[in-house]
């Protein structure tokens, strides 16, 4: 992965409060989910990228140049978490204003504002004052101003907050399209399901520290503390359990209902390949084979519980 964004030993203190602690991470093109509970340092990390917050220690680089840098800012789009705007301006004026600041002429800025507001689904409300906008409309306006100047890097701080289900689906599709265009998109969010739909690439922060980074499956594979779960739907769960019990990769077996067997294993790859073979050998039909904890929510839960020293 060639890094577009790079943090090298970044620490940030707000007085006595620790915002980030020795974070070193590289982020490449495509969509990356920035995850962590409240106060984990997600917004601070994003603000370090925009130059709004200066690291107390370490360096932030974008395209190999140290932030803050004027040339870098031309290639950056940022939708902050805040929901207050220039309330007296219309949505179109607000976006055109920021387009002009980005260097476009007046006519081009207005044209771009119209086009980008249409892209985010605000065509019917773009000439209304921002003060009349709902929370969801403000989110869309923020996204519009972040992408209006065709930035290579787009940073979105909690873009799903306040959106209704339809709005969330549209926002997810829009962010996916930005990633598909080859941009580097960093999305901070609490809503794990939607991040999971968008990307498998995640950065997890916890109490200002980098807890995990990389592909979701790879991270799950590294969590040895919690055995992987494999849910097997079959009409003969007891026969299958008897066949699997002697296998070394099986940690525990549990029945759920009349047609489901839950297998706990520390060797999921071996388990995935062995279960169909053993089922066939014993004449047990398999209806479904799923992994309920190979998802973002489970990984996030395991990671943060591990960081707290708790247990699942």
């Amino acid at each position: 992965m060639s890094a577009v964004l790079e943090f090298v030993g970044v620490s940030k203190w707000y007085g006595a409060v620790l915002g980030l602690r020795d974070v070193s991470v590289q982020i490449g093109a495509g969509i990356t989910g920035l995850l962590g509970p409240n106060g984990a340092g997600k917004s601070t990390l994003l603000k370090c990228m925009t130059g709004e917050v200066r690291p107390s220690r370490g360096e932030v680089r974008m395209f190999g140049r140290q932030v803050p840098d004027t040339e870098v800012f031309r290639r950056l789009g940022y939708a902050p978490e805040i929901e207050v705007f220039f309330e007296e301006l219309t949505g179109r004026e607000f976006v055109a204003h920021l387009a002009e600041i980005s260097g476009y002429g007046r006519a081009e800025a207005d044209r771009r504002a119209g086009a980008v507001l249409q892209r985010v689904g605000l065509e019917s409300a773009m000439n209304r004052r921002v003060s009349t906008y709902s929370k969801g409309m403000r989110q869309r306006t923020k996204l519009a101003q972040a992408i209006l100047h065709e930035p290579e890097v787009v940073l979105l701080d909690e873009p799903m907050t306040g959106l209704d289900p339809l709005g969330r689906a549209q926002m997810v599709a829009l962010i996916q399209s930005l990633g598909a265009e080859g941009r580097t998109v960093v999305v901070s969010s609490h809503i794990l399901d939607e991040v999971e739909v968008m990307t498998r690439e995640i950065v997890v922060l916890y109490q200002g520290q980098l807890l995990a980074q990389g592909d979701l499956h790879a991270i799950r594979g590294l969590i040895d503390r919690h055995p992987h779960h494999l849910a097997i739907r079959t009409p003969k769960p007891r026969e299958l359990a008897a066949a699997l019990a002697p296998e070394a990769f099986v940690v525990a077996l549990r029945f759920e209902g009349n047609d489901q067997l839950m297998v706990e294993t520390r060797d999921p790859d071996r388990c995935y390949s062995a279960v169909p073979r053993i089922a066939k050998e014993h004449g047990v039909p398999l209806l479904a084979l799923t992994s309920p904890d190979d998802n973002l929510a489970a990984v996030f839960r395991y990671l943060t519980l591990g960081a707290r020293g708790g247990s699942a």
Partner: protein, 308 residues
């Protein structure tokens, strides 16, 4: 029967469009325009605020009242001396004194006419400007773009004084036209207008700079407005009292408003300050303006400190 053609059938064509990111390569405006852009949209937003509309209406009303009053003041001696109907009969020295006094009025009356609206507009548009941007998160929108704190500050200076500037120049223009109509020569009216423009610039730049300076100290708009009002009025009272107590006229010229008033007196040739002390009002203006702008620039260069 169809006519045979020698033209070959068109071969099928297709095109695959790249959806990959392509960077905008069109023309870009110089960053030097950024202050104008910030100011233009801020002025547009201000005009939609009730307080600004009221202050502007008040300014126009005062301009009309004072223009009528000054018109009478300048027209009556002119008519009485017969200057409009062959002024040769009048005493030229007396006439020159009347003209001089009238031209001096342009400077002082422009400031007096618009002092209250100017104060209110700078209070409303300047004293809370940076605080409001802090609260609104405008820093996050501005400074993640190629906007330097210096250009942002310049834009805020223009927007803090824009509407006051329009009112003051409107008033100045009306007074200059009246001068031209009643007493002054075109050169005299132009001179009065030019000096008036300098005075308006001095007053608005110092007021706006101080407003932005205090505004950069807090994200509470009301608090920064209160600090600005205190500097204007309490400063005036303080230095007036000190000057009276110490019996030193130059101390009275140290506050934000009086330093410009003192310079107006100097332009009009009726200042009590002479010699080295004549530089004190200009120095006071410089300290207020440059000091406040320096404070705001320093605070903006450490923008995250402003986050509260």
């Amino acid at each position: 029967m169809a006519t045979p053609t020698t033209k070959p059938a068109a071969s099928p064509v297709g095109v695959v469009h790249s959806l990959a990111y392509s960077r905008y390569a069109g023309p870009r405006r110089s960053p030097n325009f950024t202050p104008l852009v910030i100011a233009r949209y801020a002025l547009m937003a201000q005009l939609r605020q009730r307080g600004v509309k009221v202050a502007l209406l008040l300014g126009v009303l005062l301009m009309a009242i004072f223009a009528a009053g000054m018109g009478f003041k300048w027209a009556l001696p002119t008519l009485a001396s017969g200057a409009m109907f062959g002024g040769a009969q009048s005493n030229p020295a007396q006439l020159a004194a009347i003209v001089r006094e009238g031209e001096a009025d342009v400077l002082s009356m422009t400031l007096r006419t618009q002092f209250l609206p100017t104060f209110l507009l700078v209070l409303w548009c300047g004293a809370g400007a940076i605080s409001a941007d802090l609260m609104a998160g405008a820093f996050q929108f501005h400074f993640s773009r190629p906007v330097s704190p210096g250009r942002y500050l310049a834009g805020r200076m223009l927007s803090a004084s824009g509407w006051s500037l329009a009112l003051s120049f409107g008033t100045l223009l009306v007074f200059a036209l009246e001068r031209l109509a009643f007493q002054s020569t075109p050169l005299g009216a132009a001179r009065a207008f030019g000096l008036g423009a300098v005075v308006v610039f001095l007053e608005l730049s110092s007021l706006s700079a101080v407003a932005l300076g205090v505004s950069s100290l807090t994200r509470r708009k009301g608090l920064s407005q209160a600090m600005f009002a205190a500097i204007v009025f309490a400063g005036w009272v303080l230095f007036r009292s000190l000057g009276a107590l110490l019996r030193t006229p130059w101390v009275k010229t140290l506050d934000l408003v009086s330093c410009v008033d003192a310079m107006v007196s100097q332009f009009n040739g009726d200042s009590p300050l002479h010699g080295a002390r004549a530089a004190i009002p200009a120095l006071a203006w410089l300290v207020w303006t440059a000091g406040s702008l320096g404070l705001a620039a320093w605070r903006l260069s450490r923008a995250e400190v402003n986050r509260g």
